[in-house]
Assembly symmetry: C2
Homo-oligomer: 326 residues x 2
Amino acid sequence: MHEQLTEEYVRKVWAELPAHVKPTTFHGTLLLNQALGAEVTLASETLQITGSFKFRAAYNLLREVDNDQVITTSSGNFGQAVAYACMLLGKRCTVLMPANSSRSKQANVRAYGGEVKLIDTSIKSRQLYTTEILADHPDAFYAPPYDHYRVVAGNSTLGREIFEHFRSPSSGSIELDCVLCPIGGGGLISGIVTARDILAPEVEVGGVEPLLGNDAAQSLKAGHVVTLEAEPQTIADGARTPSVGKLNWEIISRGLKRIVEVPEDKIAAGLKTLYAAANLKVEPTGALTTGAALTQPDLFKGKRVCLIVSGGNVDPDVYVRILAGD
Amino acid sequence: MHEQLTEEYVRKVWAELPAHVKPTTFHGTLLLNQALGAEVTLASETLQITGSFKFRAAYNLLREVDNDQVITTSSGNFGQAVAYACMLLGKRCTVLMPANSSRSKQANVRAYGGEVKLIDTSIKSRQLYTTEILADHPDAFYAPPYDHYRVVAGNSTLGREIFEHFRSPSSGSIELDCVLCPIGGGGLISGIVTARDILAPEVEVGGVEPLLGNDAAQSLKAGHVVTLEAEPQTIADGARTPSVGKLNWEIISRGLKRIVEVPEDKIAAGLKTLYAAANLKVEPTGALTTGAALTQPDLFKGKRVCLIVSGGNVDPDVYVRILAGD
């Protein structure tokens, strides 16, 4: 195991973090089982604080930070999660957001007391903006969204909830065949694999990526990290990361057998299925795992599958376009 | 108390029914508190079996019925709930549905093993169709959607969950100022008032109706049941009932001080608020209580309010039209 991501540390986080996060929402319906041809349980983070699993990561990362100021770069869920965690922890927070990022996400960062600094990525890269602002604020802590052991440990609390949910009270065994988890930078699935290795080594964790942003699937085939040349333009905006992180790759490369690649139309179909068969409003990235079950139904036929729904934050115009589409 | 709706019977239902229904989903967010200017907790039945509170009523009604066949008339949630309950209880089920009722709701009744009989209400009234089919099936049980003590007792399990959720572990008192509940035929609010009278007599239960279908508000002012001449054409299709039931009126008339009447644009605003600030997909009737807080914000300012979200089943075209509207 990673030098800092020890079982002892992970179990410490499991003991401490649940007091600060909401438990995940387990949900299943007959209609969903019929639609996917499997025995499906959703583990939905749409009702988590700030509407996605990212709050688990942000809070666990920042609760051990002494700096008064936190800076991060995010167009989406991580920025909201960092702003909320800073509000709770009494820290100042600045989120660099692309000028074209959603107005509601900008508004939410401000509602949580964060400062939004808009950047124009057509002029300078995100990384250059970040380097500059950190040079101006040498006392600030920069919050990395996925490539950090405390981020992974925070996310592992979701994995723990999932495996304990399926533990049989009589036999003690975990009555589950597979957990499907979306991959962007790899922060969430690293946490799920970490929990799986401790609690349920016999259960498969399957990765899910948009076909348009399949860097992790390419990496798994190549045996090394593959980086996409440009940010992929998938509707699953939480999975536009061009490559997984270093720590994340260490965990993914030995912990996953399979990554399902989901075409855009099946991501949309997943979102619509969760709308119609489960009454869930999810963001496109949150629909990836349902889209995976629709893309490769034979893989999951009749199996006990847990689909992680990573978050629910999506602007109404995007949601309407998908829901009203064919 | 009503002859059959005794505290003893209600407590028996509280002991037995929870094994057959899903617990309600309690949910709150900072964004929602900011939007409504109150300390808001949602009690959402959108993830209940069949997607609305109606399953509590249907299952409690039918588990004590010996007849092999059940018939009901419904364009919406009660039909789905009855079909699902009959599937579990091994009964045949027929749902009379208006020919213009939503195709997805018809499909769901069939997915639960129910038979759908389409009726044309422009030719004959629902009641006449019902009388005819019951004459043809003298051995069938007709399932009433709200005006029945077992329906009310089933719904009271939601009230019990709500009041127990707000009970302080230290003092034992219920830390809540008000529960808002939608009114159609009055079945749900009768259950909430019944639970309130037993567990939390000091907490106000407020009714909520669409302004277009304000028969209960009119009734409360007049001191007797007022029946609307035609089914009101509100978007809150679960509240189109022209009048409340007899037993329901007995309970409402002595249990409610206030019914908030919500204009159509505020029902839509409630639905959008739950979308944006709480990541919840709700049907228009489920948005009534949030719409009430938006309609009369001064009533609830700074108070601890529980908003009942009665259900989440809404066709995508209706949802898209509301979400995309101004």
